[in-house]
């Protein structure tokens, strides 16, 4: 894994917990567990909340079901999805 992933992953964990008001420490989010469903109690509205956050903060759009399934498979998958689709940032 690259350093890029290392910095993005904890950042995403922190934003996940903050955005959704989860009652847990960001470090305790399992990076390989599914984001949606029973584990964290994340439902469709939470998912849309994350979609807005990812668009606003990273310029990455998740606007169809297939992209959602790929991006929200886990926190690691989300980091990978963002790195792959992130627009080249201005210098």
């Amino acid at each position: 894994m690259t350093e890029q992933t290392d910095s993005l992953l904890p950042e995403l964990a922190r934003k996940l917990v903050e955005t959704l008001g989860l009652d847990m420490a960001p470090e305790s989010v399992d990076p390989d567990a599914p984001l949606i469903g029973a584990g964290l109690g994340i439902d469709s509205i939470d998912t849309l909340e994350l979609v807005v956050m990812i668009d606003k903060d990273y310029g990455v759009k998740i606007d169809n079901r297939a992209a959602g399934v790929e991006a929200f498979a886990s926190l690691n998958a989300l980091a990978t999805f963002i790195r792959q689709h992130r627009p080249a940032s201005p210098a």
């Binding site: 959704l20 008001g21 989860l22 009652d23 109690g41 439902d43 469709s44 509205i45 939470d46 849309l48 909340e49 979609v51 807005v52 668009d55 606003k56 606007d63």
Partner: protein, 713 residues
């Protein structure tokens, strides 16, 4: 039960995308064409540039003054519905946007002048109509998201059946605004190319706007009778804050209740006007519900939202007008916008306008909070005049208070009572500790102050009532609704040049979101209403619940509450939200039909344009009048109180907001304490407790109109 009087439709009026009156609507239904495009009433940029809406165009607004768009649309349609006829004696209006368009503009401009926000309250729309149309009786506002107008029809029907009005103007109005347009966009529910209901490739809804009204009366005057409002049915999914029940369970229940109320079999329905928004989930759930109710032989059906867009709170009224026109014209409206019917739905919608005799129509409306309302409209009987069971005008029966709760700065009911007995004031904001533990943290994770207050009130009242089953009827009153959600949604939207905001805040911002949460908490699939009428919100929730009990509900949960929001409350309700009396909180009651059991009673007495009308009702020997004087009326308070003393037989006058603080729903708190007082035989609202030998109190809210309730034991 004695036969219900038939309710006749004697006038219709409409404004929607593509039709600014009924004549234009007839032409539009005969030759459907739509013109969805980017909204012109507010600028769209960036990601929203080409996203279409269904906007009303070419309005002649020269006769409707300077009020905001929702108010203007409402008045145009209301005037058309009434024609040259006499004024109605009551209004029941469904709306969700009210004057928020003006509020958005003022917030964006950074205005700190409350005058710029004077039209924010949902109540201002119906009051605008009442002033223009000279209405003496109740002016009710229902806000249950996209089912609002259909729920308003049901309340109007109940008012007429109970003999509380003879001629009701019932409908709904909503205008395009940033909150709803961007709100549905953040939910990814807006179709990029415009909605295509029931299509296999449907991609969402199109936000519309407009207004629709029916004039309803059991004893019609000489006007032609256009139709009958034969039945209404309400239900709540109690499933999710915004998504419909996937099997359409609540929708099917509301349809069945409407058919049962109309006293007809499903096979008698000739045409169904679907809710049919064009979202994947709505259309799938509604199709399942239709198949459950109608079985194998489905009536003709279509969604007209491909033509009108989705006019949100007005939808149920505009579609009721469409249903009436369908019957009078003998024309099945087409499912405009449809290309390939989704085979998974199992429906065969009307593809082109079709001539046919239509005797009965079912019209569906579903909204956030799982709020469902269905109407049955029928063609008028062939022979007139019609024998109709006589409507007897009498007061609503009193209800026994089986459980109650309140929240003030002092805490719950006991703490508040004890503080008042000790001579303290209960004014101020409710401390978090007083309500944060009532409901599990995981359940309220996404909820802000108002839904949390309301859930705590609901939980406590339900628990103290000893009722084991969910309530048979839920009615919530709130003047300002979930303000923190509204403020946060608009703040985030404006901070990002109208590109991003929170879907959670949007869903939470609708006035009936807390009531939907109560249904989820208690598993209550019963009718679920939210009334929003300024200082009369509690009174109107009590009225709706009383009508529900009169129609057979075995228990009703009535809640009224406000939540202070640091930025918006002082702008919207400056008198109440600033200074030492600024407060929030509210109260809740579990009410059951009057029975032999001991305990306090509560009765809705009336809502009047002026205090003099109180004299029309016999007065019981009240020990005291509890008068709520809103801070906004403080300048006129002395005059109003003098009027009041003249109007009601002499007895002690107590202005309860001095002790309980200022907020729009504090009347509910006063009622909870009054119920305790009539049991204890003394009222601790003054420096020395007031004895209550008759155990009977009159509670009045003195806003722009007067609401009256009595509490006795």
């Amino acid at each position: 039960m004695s036969p219900q009087p038939r309710i006749f439709v004697t006038g219709i009026g409409v404004v929607c995308a593509g039709a600014n009156n009924v004549a234009e609507l007839r032409a539009l239904l005969a030759s459907p064409r739509r013109d969805f495009r980017s909204p012109t009433v507010f600028p769209c940029q960036g990601a929203t540039t080409n996203l279409p809406a269904a906007e009303v165009t070419g309005l002649d607004t020269s006769q409707v003054g300077e009020a905001p768009r929702t108010h203007r649309l409402a008045l145009l349609a209301a005037r058309e519905a009434l024609g040259e006829g006499p004024p109605p004696d009551a209004i029941v209006l469904g709306t969700t946007t009210g004057g928020i368009f003006a509020t958005e503009t003022a917030l964006q401009a950074g205005s700190a002048s409350p005058a710029d926000y004077r039209y924010h309250g949902l109540d201002t729309v119906a009051l605008h109509l009442a002033d223009a149309l000279n209405v003496r009786g109740p002016v009710l506002t229902i806000s249950t998201a996209c089912s609002s107008a259909a729920v308003a029809m049901s309340v109007a029907q109940a008012l007429l059946r109970a003999g509380l009005a003879r001629r009701v103007l019932a409908g709904g109005a909503d205008a395009l605004c940033r909150l709803t347009f961007h709100g549905f966009r953040t939910l990814q529910l807006l179709a990029p190319e415009g909605c295509t209901p029931l299509d296999t490739n449907r991609a969402g809804m199109t936000v519309g706007e407009g207004a629709g009204f029916l004039v309803l009366e059991p004893t019609p005057d000489k006007r032609p009778i256009l139709a009958l409002l034969s039945g209404t049915g309400l239900s709540c999914d109690a499933y999710h804050a915004s998504s419909p029940h996937p099997e359409g369970a609540g929708a099917a229940q509301a349809m069945r209740r409407a058919l049962e109320d109309a006293g007809i079999e499903p096979s008698a329905i000739d045409y169904v006007n679907l809710h049919g928004t064009g979202t994947v989930d709505n259309d799938a759930a509604e199709a399942k519900a239709i198949r459950q109710v109608f079985g194998l032989t489905l009536p003709a059906l279509s969604s007209t939202k491909g033509l009108t867009g989705h006019p949100l709170a007005a939808a149920g009224a505009i579609e009721a007008v469409i249903s009436v026109v369908a019957m009078t014209e003998g024309l099945m409206p087409a499912n405009t916008g449809l290309d390939i019917v989704d085979p998974r739905l199992g429906l065969s919608p009307v593809l082109a306008p079709t001539r046919a005799r239509i005797n009965a129509v079912l019209s569906n409306s579903f909204g956030f909070g799982g709020n469902n309302a269905c109407l049955v409209l029928s063609a008028p009987p062939a022979k007139l005049p019609v024998e109709n069971p006589k409507v007897v005008s009498r007061p609503l029966p009193a209800l026994r208070i089986a459980g109650s709760a309140c929240l003030t700065a002092m805490g719950g009911l006991d703490e508040t009572w004890n503080a008042l007995v000790a001579g303290q004031s209960a004014a101020g904001f409710v401390p978090d500790a007083a309500f944060s533990k009532a409901v599990q943290a995981a359940f309220v994770r996404r909820l802000k102050r108002l839904p949390r207050l309301i859930l705590a009130l609901a939980q406590t009242a339900h628990a103290t009532s000893g009722e084991r089953t969910p309530p048979d009827f839920i009615a919530v009153g709130t003047a300002w609704g979930p303000l923190a959600e509204t403020q946060d949604f608009l703040r985030k939207l404006f901070e990002t040049a109208e590109q991003f905001s929170s879907p959670t805040d949007f869903i939470g911002s609708v006035h009936n979101a807390p009531a939907g949460q109560v249904a989820l908490l208690l598993g209550a699939t019963a009718p679920n209403l939210t009334c929003s009428a300024g200082d009369r919100s509690f009174s109107q929730a009590l009225l709706c619940a009383s009508l529900g009990v009169a129609a057979g509900a075995k228990s009703a949960l009535v809640i009224a509450a406000e939540a202070h929001e640091a930025r918006l409350s002082p702008l919207f309700d400056p008198g109440a939200a600033t200074g030492p009396q600024a407060s929030d909180g509210g109260a809740a009651f579990v009410l059951v039909p009057d029975d032999a059991k001991p305990g306090p009673r509560m009765r809705w007495l009336g809502e009047y344009r002026d205090l003099k009308l109180l004299q029309e009702h016999p007065t019981a020997p009240y020990d005291a009048i509890l008068a709520g004087v809103p801070a906004s009326l403080a300048a006129d308070a002395a005059e109003r109180l003098a009027e009041l003393t003249a109007a009601v037989s002499p007895c002690l006058l107590v202005t309860f907001r001095d002790r309980l603080g200022q907020h729009a729903s504090v009347g509910a708190t006063a009622a909870a304490l009054a119920a305790r007082a009539v049991l204890e035989g003394a009222l601790p609202f003054a420096s020395t407790p007031i004895p209550l030998p008759n155990k009977r109190l009159l509670l009045l809210e003195l806003g722009p109109r007067v609401a009256a309730i009595e509490v006795f034991a």
